[in-house]
């Protein structure tokens, strides 16, 4: 095998606060023809920056300060714009994280597809369109002859991601950089995209750099894995060695994340009044029905995980409970008493009892308010504490979420990391002294290590304060870690519900089965086995459609 890409001791710097700060501190990378390298690390580890540097490209405000990038004998760091133009898109291609944001919404997919090949003079327009159809077929897109002539908003996220892979393939490049291509997708969609990518990369013997923070995904895709931490390489090894015998502590800690699991709680005593009871709720946005006859109970000190794909009505159920979306039919009861449907009609105490923690801590905290004020406001609002008492209460809350009060009280949210922001979100919910908290995808925007910290914190708080959680998530690993009971939703209906243990042991409802089997596992053969099991032509859409 010949070496395709050789990066030696590369250093990248980013400009902020009037000085250059290091992003990558001397990383080596070697890629053979047809080999797939997995690049993993937390956010801020410099994965994407390194991936782009492999194309000789840097984002605005970033520069390559030293080191070399050699692609097939061509020095990309010092290459002229003309040389790079002749390579990028033709021999090196890039697949971005969000296909929806990367396609130009004003042009049909195929128009964007044939732009590369015709610009580079690889194919004529007609040839390229015919080739595109063939690629769409290979990537198992429905209606390959016709789908390219749609606009980006007319196809689903998973399909768009595959269309983008086809676009990257258009010139049959030697190297493709995949930057988290499946992170924004549901588990069931993710499988289709992963299988398609793997197949087409194998078929055309394309080398690839696959950037992700999901270990289970990278285990399916890569021949080799490189772990990055804050711009430094931690270790590199081939996939099987890395998974079975990691040598570095950091790598081991990444591997261990998924091991967190709470002990099973005793079953609910019969006849106990649930803290929250959702009774036969129907809801609609305007005239579009979203929920159909949803019912479940949440008991004191227990966690109910609500799982399902996006669009299954999980968050809508939460909006019904909080009163933001009054249900069309059915009712919400709290401690046995029916609540007014609209939150504006609920009294202060009813509002206090149910709190919410949001998915995106960035938008959930007012960027212009200090941490102290964010937490103090609900305390003051509900309990009327002022002055020293208020400060003492806020300090205690900060202690509870394991942040040093004196250090964080006066900071602004922008000065905190993602995990710390999420902790502030938790503290704000706790400040109201609620009995019940809705956690809406609270860990899905976080790195695995940080997410685990949040889950442990939530578990600890639940034990201390006897809180009940409604845990909305699409990640079954999270469910396994924290839930007592599980509610599976699909298309606005509850498909199955019960104790966690019962849910994770067969037999399941067919949809639960599909969800469960779609969760990537650390085993590098998992995807291969799964595809065989399901029958290669039967993955994804087909499997769902069959039910």
């Amino acid at each position: 095998m010949s070496t395709l890409l050789k990066i030696r001791d590369i250093r990248l710097e980013g400009r902020s606060d009037e000085k250059w700060n290091p992003i990558i501190n001397g990383v080596d990378l070697t890629l053979q023809k047809g080999e797939v390298l997995g690049l993993i690390g937390e956010s801020g580890a410099g994965k994407s920056t390194l991936g782009l540097a492999a194309m000789g490209f840097t984002r605005d405000g970033v520069r390559i300060s030293s080191g070399s990038v050699e692609f097939d004998g061509i020095d990309l760091v010092n290459a002229s714009a003309a040389v790079k133009r002749s390579l990028l898109g033709k021999r090196i291609a890039y697949v971005a994280q969000s296909a929806a944001a990367s396609f130009n919404p004003a042009h049909r997919i195929i128009e964007q597809h044939f732009e590369g090949p015709t610009q580079h003079g690889v194919m004529s327009k007609a040839e390229s369109i015919a080739d595109g159809v063939e690629l769409y077929e290979k990537l198992r897109l429905p209606n390959p002859e016709e789908i390219g002539f749609r606009y980006p908003h007319q196809v689903s996220g998973g399909q768009l991601q595959r269309a983008m892979t086809a676009m990257a393939m258009a010139c049959r490049p030697d190297l493709i950089i995949f930057d988290e291509p499946t992170t924004a997708l549901d588990v069931t969609t993710q499988i289709e995209v992963l299988a398609s990518i793997r197949e087409i990369v194998e078929e055309y013997d394309t080398a690839a750099i696959y950037i992700t923070h999901d270990l289970a995904v990278v285990a399916q895709m890569a021949d080799q894995i490189k772990v990055l931490l804050k711009g430094d390489e931690v270790e590199t090894a081939d996939t099987r060695t890395m998974l079975s015998a990691p040598t570095q502590d950091y790598t081991k800690s990444l591997w261990a994340v998924r091991s967190f699991e709470r002990p099973t709680k005793p079953a609910v005593i019969g006849g106990a009044v649930p803290v929250v009871s959702v009774r036969n709720v129907d809801a609609a946005y305007g005239t579009v029905p979203v929920l159909h006859d949803v019912s479940f109970d949440i008991h004191e000190g227990r966690t109910v995980a609500v799982v399902g794909e996006s669009g299954s009505g999980k968050s809508t159920t939460a909006r019904c409970i909080t009163g933001l979306l009054p249900p069309k039919a059915g009712e919400i009861a709290f401690d046995g008493n029916v609540l007014p449907a609209d939150y504006r009609k609920r009294n202060k105490d009813q509002l206090r009892q149910a709190q919410m923690i949001y998915q995106m801590a960035d938008t959930a905290l007012n960027p212009r308010m200090s941490i102290g004020n964010i937490i103090a406001r609900p305390v003051q609002f509900y309990s009327g504490l002022t002055g020293k008492d208020l400060r003492a209460r806020v300090d205690k809350l900060l202690d509870q979420i394991e942040l040093e009060p004196s250090q964080y009280f006066n900071r602004l949210p922008s000065e905190l990391s993602g995990g710390q922001k999420q902790r502030i979100g938790i503290a704000r919910a706790l400040a109201a002294e609620p009995k019940f908290i809705i956690c809406d995808e609270v860990t899905s925007a976080l790195d695995q290590l940080v997410a685990e910290g949040i889950l442990r914190l939530l578990a600890k708080l639940q034990d201390e304060l006897k809180l009940s959680y409604m845990f909305i998530t699409h990640d079954l690993a999270t469910v396994r870690a924290i839930a007592d009971e599980v509610v599976v939703m699909k298309d606005g209906r509850v498909v199955e519900q019960g104790e966690k243990k019962a849910m994770f042991t067969p037999p399941h409802h067919a949809y639960t089965d599909l969800l469960l089997s779609s969760v990537p596992e650390m085993d590098p053969d998992w995807l291969t086995n799964l595809l065989q099991e399901r029958g290669v032509d039967n993955i994804g859409d087909a499997a769902v459609g069959k039910m």
Binding site: A81, L324, Y343, L351, Q355, A364, N366, R428
Partner: protein, 400 residues
């Protein structure tokens, strides 16, 4: 025809020079990225700039008088412009250096990262503010005081028709132009400031209310604003001012009060649109939802949650809006329905002295008199826009 050929010829020559320049650069730097990746258009720009600079220097040193002893107006004005520019640059630079070493840590950091244009803008605004506030103490004469000599030319030199008592000359009925300029700052800028403030109070309050409450209130306000905006603003203001000028003496309220309210209401429609749009983006944030679910009242939502997040775009709009209001007042005064004599005002001053502009060809000094007030308006507008540009750039978080 010849002129067109000349222009084409010169452009082609510059293009050839640009090609040579780039080639020489590539040779000299042994094909390093800087010159290697330079597009021809950029090289053309560089050469064009140099040619322009050479022409400017040559033109600057042309004699001020021709053989007959008549002053050449174009050269004189060009010299003044260049000198003014250089003085402005030096002042801005000095001010920025001053700011870097004096003041709090925060202000020092601000000055370090500030472009020269913004420093210039701030300096001009400060100077205007000082003149406006202390006009009574600074101005040598009263604004309505009619002095002995009319039409004294600026410059203060008796040989060229000036008078050292009136450094900027006197107007057509013998009032000191310098004093009127200084009082004009107080009247025009002060009234413009109050008007803008009022426009913002009305526009922001209604805009935020519409965005937060939505529903029929939003529809009512927005459609009402659409109706007001459909009428050309200057014509509308003129119409209302004409009506007001009939009413004002009858009720005994000065016309200026009417003007402030009329312009504020007309301009508040633009502020309303911006405030509503900004607030609409903020009310969908989760922290607003959290506050609503907490049971917070409208006042808390608007003043504590929305307003702090909307200040950057609103402040930038304030600067721009101030310029527009200011120009509207000057325009209304120019048309005779704005600030009423004997109060001095820059718009009125331009109107009163406008005929002198005809003397530009043979008596540049005389032509300057109307330009002084016009220049004062232009300078403030430019300064405010410099500052607003910088603030917008800062709040957008763009990196250079």
């Amino acid at each position: 025809m010849i002129t067109i050929l000349w222009i084409v010829g010169v452009l082609l020559a510059i293009l050839a020079l640009a090609f040579g320049f780039r080639w020489a650069g590539q040779m000299a730097t042994s094909n390093a990225p800087g010159f290697r990746d330079m597009p021809l258009s950029v090289a053309f720009g560089y050469v064009f700039g140099v040619v322009l600079l050479i022409w400017a220097v040559r033109f600057y040193f042309q004699p001020l008088m021709n053989e007959q002893g008549v002053p050449v107006a174009s050269v004189i004005f060009f010299r003044w412009a260049i000198q003014g520019l250089i003085i402005a640059m030096i002042a801005a630079f000095a001010f920025k250096q001053f700011g870097k070493f004096v003041g709090t840590e925060w202000s020092k950091k601000l000055f370090r990262s500030m472009p020269l244009t913004a420093a210039f803008g701030i300096l001009v605004i400060i100077i205007y503010a000082i003149f406006a506030i202390f006009a009574g103490a600074i101005a040598p004469y009263g604004q309505a005081e009619i002095l002995g000599a009319a039409n004294v030319l600026p410059g203060g030199d008796v040989a060229t028709g000036g008078n050292p008592d009136y450094p900027l000359g006197t107007d057509n009925i013998g009032r000191d132009i310098l004093s009127r300029l200084i009082y004009g700052a107080q009247n025009t800028v002060g009234i413009a400031f109050i008007t803008t403030l009022l426009a913002f109070v009305i526009g922001v309050t209604l805009g935020f209310l519409a965005a937060t409450l939505g529903g029929w209130l939003d529809q009512l306000l927005s459609r009402g604003v659409d109706v007001l905006m459909a009428i050309p603003s200057l014509i509308f203001a003129l119409l209302l001012m004409t009506i007001a000028s009939v009413w004002a003496p009858r009720i005994g309220i000065p016309l200026t009060y009417f003007m402030v309210v009329i312009i504020a209401v007309i301009d508040s429609t633009r502020v309303y649109r911006l405030a509503r749009a900004v607030a609409l983006n903020i009310v969908v944030m989760d922290y607003i939802e959290a506050a609503k679910l907490r049971g917070e009242g409208l006042a808390y939502l608007v003043f504590r949650e929305i307003l702090p997040n909307a200040t950057a775009p609103l402040l930038a709009e304030f600067g721009l809006r101030f310029c527009f209001v200011f120009l509207t007042i000057a325009a209304l005064s120019f048309l005779g329905v704005g600030i009423q004599p004997p109060l001095s005002d820059w718009g009125t001053m331009v109107k009163d002295l406008a005929p002198f502009i005809n003397f530009a060809q043979f008596a540049p000094l005389a032509a300057v008199t109307p330009l002084l007030a016009a220049g004062a308006i232009a300078l403030l507008t430019v300064a405010v826009n410099f500052v607003v540009d910088w603030m917008l750039h800062k709040s957008s978080g763009l990196k250079e």
